[in-house]
């Protein structure tokens, strides 16, 4: 054939442009017409997927997708009875911004569209898990099936959750506009939480789905950078981006070839992503410019301390413990307390760690959380209280956890039982 050079599409072009087209069209048509914006984006992707295999990739694929979605939206508004009376006005609006040229100005305005969409997805009337799913769907360009895979839910559950959210947006007229200045800071905080929930969802270790999971982590990182580079940029946003970049850098080292978990201290540091580490540190430096000290700052400081050690033997555990003490003061979260106990063991030994775990026993928030009994088992084994350690690891295995986590616990259990016999 004529164009024999192998054409290359930018990685994730379809997924990225799907999100941008939805944000752009919804910005023009209003959140009441969110469904049309989504349908138009899907139609553009479908037409591309069905014609490019024969015709090759057009010279400017992004503009092709935008134009196709835009044309679809206009012809749909014209022929659908739903828009009776409003059709002319909507078409006029659509035609004011026909076919973005994708120059720098348009690029900036598209970023604003995306940002408004993220802020709408994080509206306080929506529950946090809904906010995460909706952001992934509308802004991230993930399908409900992919979101279901990421969160280990049924596809129908995710689809219903998203449908309900979209109904609520339509019925309550949740606008695609930035909240007023009094609510803006509060909404920014929930946007940051949702972005980190999205990141953690991708970061949780699961077997088999590594690709899609790191995609979700990188999407969360991209959204964090989007907020950081906007007029809403603040030191705590930079801190969140730093935290995500430093953690995402460890993704390639976190599981071994067989998909088993590798704990931080045993990770091959050569596998860490240098670009993400550098990105993390540059955002970390920016984050400490102001007086603002947020939860994200401290978490980022912990991640930075791990990353700056030349080897696992050189990790500054005492410094990390100080950060955890600060974090405890700020959040009083049982999960933070549990992670702090891990560090207490490094600095002050197993007896002290056991004491730090006592207040967590019976904590409601940690019920069914496998890491509490797993940590108890770890500490008890170090104290050579093998029977109790065995019981703790067995309890951990009764909790909900992923296959790599189960195998990890199983290995711990076997090690304890071997030690018990040799003791």
């Amino acid at each position: 054939m004529q164009e024999s050079g192998s054409p290359v599409l930018l990685e994730h072009l379809f997924r990225r442009e799907a999100g941008r087209i939805v944000a752009w069209l919804a910005g023009l048509l209003g959140s009441a017409n969110l469904q049309l914006a989504e349908d138009a984006a899907q139609e553009a992707m479908l037409r591309a997927a069905q014609t490019w295999p024969f015709q090759g990739i057009p010279p400017n694929p992004e503009a092709w997708l935008f134009r196709t979605a835009h044309n679809y939206a206009i012809s749909f508004v014209r022929r659908s009875a739903v828009f009776q009376g409003k059709a002319d006005a909507l078409v006029a609006v659509l035609e004011t911004r026909a076919q973005p040229t994708l120059d720098l100005d348009a690029e900036q305005s598209l970023r604003d569209d995306e940002l408004r969409m993220v802020f709408m997805c994080c509206h306080p009337k929506l529950a946090p898990d809904v906010q995460v799913a909706l952001s992934l769907k509308l802004v991230g360009g993930f399908s409900t099936e992919e979101i279901a895979r990421i969160f280990f839910s049924e596809q129908t559950t995710i689809a219903q959750r998203i449908a309900r959210a979209k109904r609520l947006i339509r019925d309550q007229n949740l606008a695609l506009a930035m909240p007023s200045s009094t609510q803006l800071q509060q909404r920014l905080n929930s946007v940051l939480k949702v972005i980190y929930l999205m990141f953690s969802g991708g970061y949780a270790a699961h077997s088999g789905e590594e690709l899609i999971r790191s995609d979700v982590c990188l999407e969360a990182l991209r959204l964090g950078k989007l907020v950081a580079s906007s007029s809403l940029g603040a030191p705590r946003v930079d801190a969140l981006v730093a935290l995500m970049a430093l953690q995402a850098a460890r993704l390639p080292a976190r599981t071994d070839a067989s998909g088993d978990l590798v704990v931080l201290e045993e990770q091959d540091r050569k596998l860490w992503d240098d670009n993400l580490i550098a990105l993390g540190f540059s955002y970390f430096d920016r984050s400490i410019a102001g007086d603002d000290i947020s939860e994200w700052h401290i978490q980022a400081a912990i991640a930075a301390t791990y990353a700056s050690a030349a080897s696992s033997a050189e990790i500054d555990w005492a410094g990390i413990l100080e950060h955890y003490d600060q974090l405890m003061e700020l959040t009083n979260s049982p999960v933070v307390a549990l992670n702090r106990a891990v560090v207490v063991m490094k600095v002050h030994g197993a007896e002290a760690a056991l004491a730090a775990l006592i207040p967590l026993d019976g904590n409601n928030a940690l019920q069914k959380y496998h890491l509490l009994p797993a940590m108890q088992g770890h500490v008890l084994a170090a104290l050579e209280r093998f029977d109790e350690a065995t019981a703790a690891f067995s309890a951990a295995l009764q909790c909900d956890c992923t296959l790599p986590e189960k195998r990890f616990l199983q290995r711990q259990l076997e090690m304890v039982s071997a030690q018990r016999h040799s003791a």
């Binding site: 192998s6 379809f14 479908l46 490019w52 024969f54 992919e146």
Partner: protein, 114 residues
């Protein structure tokens, strides 16, 4: 070597189940196949109803929109490939990532032996 025409029909519902990421992966696989040396030609068809032209009983001509509905399989495009025989043409076509997204029809292009 004889030429074969591959007619690809799209199953709209099957395509709609794909996520944007999966669609892109499909496009990349189609294009990788299209760039193989045995592919002579190819073209996509605009996805609309097209026109059907028929003779009318009164001697006139009727022109109607195609009988295609959203759910029916619509012709998406065609490729022309070179292959030794039908067996090879089928074998080469099985690498097109179209399986599950519609049907493929293979026909040998006729030439006169002069």
């Amino acid at each position: 070597m004889p030429n074969y025409v591959l007619l690809l029909r799209n199953d709209g519902e099957a395509w709609k189940k794909l996520s944007p990421e999966e669609m892109q992966q499909k496009v990349e696989k189609y294009l990788a196949w299209r760039n193989k040396p045995f592919v002579v030609d190819g073209a996509g068809l605009v996805r609309d109803t097209g026109r059907v032209i028929r003779a009318k009983s009164d001697g006139g001509v009727s022109v109607t929109e195609g009988p295609f509905s959203e759910s029916a399989e619509v012709m998406g495009g065609f490729y022309t490939i070179e292959a030794a025989d039908y067996d090879e043409a089928v074998k080469l076509s099985l690498d097109i990532p179209h399986i599950g997204l519609g049907t493929m029809e293979i026909r040998q292009v006729m030439v006169y032996n002069t």
